[in-house]
């Protein structure tokens, strides 16, 4: 018998060659992209052609972007090993808080927005501290907040409006154009009207372009996805998030300030909810007691479609990004098809399952997992 081979680090004989494609597809988020492509193919072949016009795509992206901002935050929190079921109620509550700051206190828009974020951060921190101090599962703690915040939204709305569950006319009076433009309406309007003028994009009969610009929520969505990805993959905080979710004890033993990381994530999630609340309230000019209903659920779905593990420690922000777009495309896309809306939920469920199955199938195929 010959002695052990003295091979140094040139080429390890125990590694098979893998193609670049395989390497790319191994990233969790790209499975979600595969699912997205499948869903898109389905709609291209069944839906009205107007779905994939510029206006149609913007139309899909706007709900996706609102859901997506929540989904990315939920994904970070899930990677960090916790859930926040109060996101949906937080949207309603911070919407009310924001509305009250603007209409009742008459704060300037910028201040009202800042104050809303502060309230959200405090509530998120409270969630986090309760989870950490009591060592109860975050599921149950934030569930309590789901009810409490939803209830407070109702009480607060009735108090603020004198008995109605709907608050209207928010932002109508304010005219600080700069802040408004960041948080509502559309961006790049000049570009789009130029494009329309040059017949590069579709117009209404009256000459205005069908799409007057990119809704700002989409820009926020993309920006947040990029930021979250950078944080997760390139920063110390990102490493701590993975570690806290992978095994909180091991992370703590290695000197990761797990409690601080988790509290921070809860605050981030609450602030993401506040951002969505501000975007939708300014856009709609109103808020009501049902805003954000079940959004916590949809956000978690989008994150899971995007490859996050429910047990924590694994996932990506870009995955959640694609997950939200899949969800948005399925839910808006069906209205472009000829299916009876009674079948809507059946299709929604089937499409979700297919998207995830396909994502999974592709990943296994490519990585050669058995």
């Amino acid at each position: 018998m010959s002695p052990a081979p003295a091979i140094k680090k040139i080429q390890d004989e125990r590694l098979k060659e893998v193609s670049l494609l395989t390497k790319i597809m191994r990233r969790p988020e790209l499975g979600a992209l595969a699912g997205l492509i499948l869903v898109a193919i389905f709609f291209i072949s069944t839906a009205d052609a107007s779905m994939f016009t510029l206006a149609g795509i913007m139309n899909i992206l706007s709900p996706a972007s609102q859901l997506g901002i929540l989904a990315i935050a939920a994904a970070l929190l899930m990677i960090g090993g916790e859930f926040d079921l109060s996101i949906g109620s937080m949207v309603a509550f911070t919407g009310l808080v924001f509305g009250a700051f603007v209409t009742l206190s008459g704060l300037p828009l910028l201040l009202a927005i800042a104050a809303t974020f502060v309230v959200a951060a405090i509530l998120g921190g409270l969630n986090g501290q309760l989870v950490i101090r009591t060592r109860l599962p975050s599921f149950i703690v934030t569930l309590a907040f789901l009810f409490i915040l939803r209830g407070l939204s109702l009480v607060g709305l009735k108090w603020a409006t004198g008995g109605s569950t709907q608050m209207r006319g928010i932002g109508a009076q304010s005219n600080e154009d700069f802040v408004r433009e960041i948080f509502s309406g559309t961006a790049l309007e000049g570009l789009f009207s130029w494009l329309a003028a040059n017949d590069l994009i579709a117009k209404f009969p009256n000459g205005t372009p069908t799409v007057t610009g990119v809704p700002v929520s989409i820009l926020w969505f993309i920006g947040f996805a990029l930021l979250a990805t950078w944080i997760l993959l390139r920063t110390r905080a990102g490493n701590w998030i993975f570690a806290a979710g992978g095994d909180a004890n091991a992370a703590r033993n290695s000197g990761v300030p797990v409690d601080r990381v988790k509290t921070g994530l809860f605050m981030l999630t609450a602030c993401a909810a506040a951002l969505v609340a501000i975007l939708t309230v300014l856009d709609a000019g109103s808020t009501d007691a049902r805003r954000g209903f079940q959004k916590e659920f949809e956000a978690i779905i989008a994150a899971v479609i995007g490859g996050c593990l429910l047990t924590g420690g694994y996932g990506s922000a870009i995955g959640a990004f694609f997950g939200a777009i899949i969800f948005g495309m399925v839910s808006i896309g069906l209205t472009y098809t000829r299916f009876d809306s009674d079948w809507f939920q059946v299709f929604l469920g089937a499409m979700l399952l297919l998207a995830v199955l396909f994502n999974n199938f592709i990943r296994r195929k490519v990585t050669g997992e058995r």
Binding site: T53, G285, R290, S331, S341, F344
Partner: protein
């Protein structure tokens, strides 16, 4: 099918909501009668943001007509105006009679929820009710909240809102509890016949107060109508929402074909179904027409 004769209906009521399923049946029937393509769309929950997105999606498909309900004018204004700007004829239905014209809709078909509630309240007051309970199976759903509000206005007496869920066992237990906790309650108005109304009748029976407590409900269900016929409940308030689905589609279809359009709003209800009329409508209700 021909792109030109397609009509899209976007409302805030889900397809599995008993009230809205009747609207949807009306829409479908009108589509068949008028020989046009109809699509009924609604968000998964009472969600104004996604409803406005559904309207946008409808506008993108350039239908021959658009039917919308307007439970929150602020949130839907932009989308409806976009439809009008795109040259799509719009008819509003169910809610939003006050803003319909202003937003550019051609007319409104329906009955205001507050008004319907007020009529129910007045009728119950007339029947001798003093202390009322409003059983709301979906607190926060603005149209249901408005029904309670109208009831409170019309009833005059003390009204408590009882939040319940869609679960009949839960409704029954909570109504029973409320009756036990406050013996002075003599009137109960449920906001949905099948979900809240029927268990309410059962709860009143359990509490041994059939007859002593006046039970009424919004909308119709065969079971509740039986109770009305049997004298266990006083009336069901019918908005004839079938018309809210049927008429706008018919109007828009005729508009597309011949350019016809009625000159003013069409009130579809309310219509109180009392003991005398109950038996005739049971069958229609079981089929989802009333």
């Amino acid at each position: 099918a021909q792109q030109s004769s397609r009509i899209i209906v976007v409302t805030h009521g889900q397809a599995n909501d008993p009230f809205w399923s009747v609207v949807k049946n009306g829409v479908a029937e009108a589509g068949k009668d008028m020989n046009v393509q109809v699509d009924y769309r609604a968000p998964e929950t009472f969600d104004m943001v996604s409803m406005s997105q559904l309207i946008d999606a409808a506008v993108n498909q350039k239908p021959a007509g658009l039917v919308v309900s307007i439970p929150d004018a602020s949130a839907l204004t932009a989308s409806i105006q976009k439809a009008v700007a795109a040259g799509i004829p719009v008819i509003s239905m169910n809610s939003g009679s006050d803003v319909s014209k202003k937003l550019g809709a051609m007319l409104h078909v329906g009955q205001d929820e507050v008004e319907a509630g007020r009529i129910a309240g007045a009728k119950l007051k007339e029947l001798g009710g003093k202390v009322g309970l409003c059983v709301n199976q979906e607190v926060g759903n603005v149209s249901l909240d408005l029904r309670c509000k109208g009831f409170t206005d019309g009833f005059g007496g003390k009204v408590t809102v009882l939040p319940v869920t869609n679960d009949p066992a839960d409704v029954r237990a909570k109504v029973k509890a409320a009756l036990a906790a406050d013996a002075s309650v003599d009137t109960v108005l449920a906001l949905g016949a099948g979900t809240a109304g029927e268990p309410t009748v059962a709860a009143v029976k359990d509490a041994g107060k059939t007859g002593a407590v006046r039970v009424a409900t919004f909308d119709l269900s065969a079971g509740f109508l039986k109770s009305v016929a049997a004298g266990e409940a006083v009336f069901a308030i019918d908005q004839q929402q079938y018309l809210q689905g049927y008429l706008p589609v018919a109007f828009l279809a005729l508009n597309a074909k011949y350019g016809l359009m009625p000159g003013g709003n069409v009130p579809s209800g309310p219509n109180l179904i009392t003991k005398e009329k109950a038996n005739q409508v049971i069958d229609l209700s079981a089929k989802g027409i009333r």
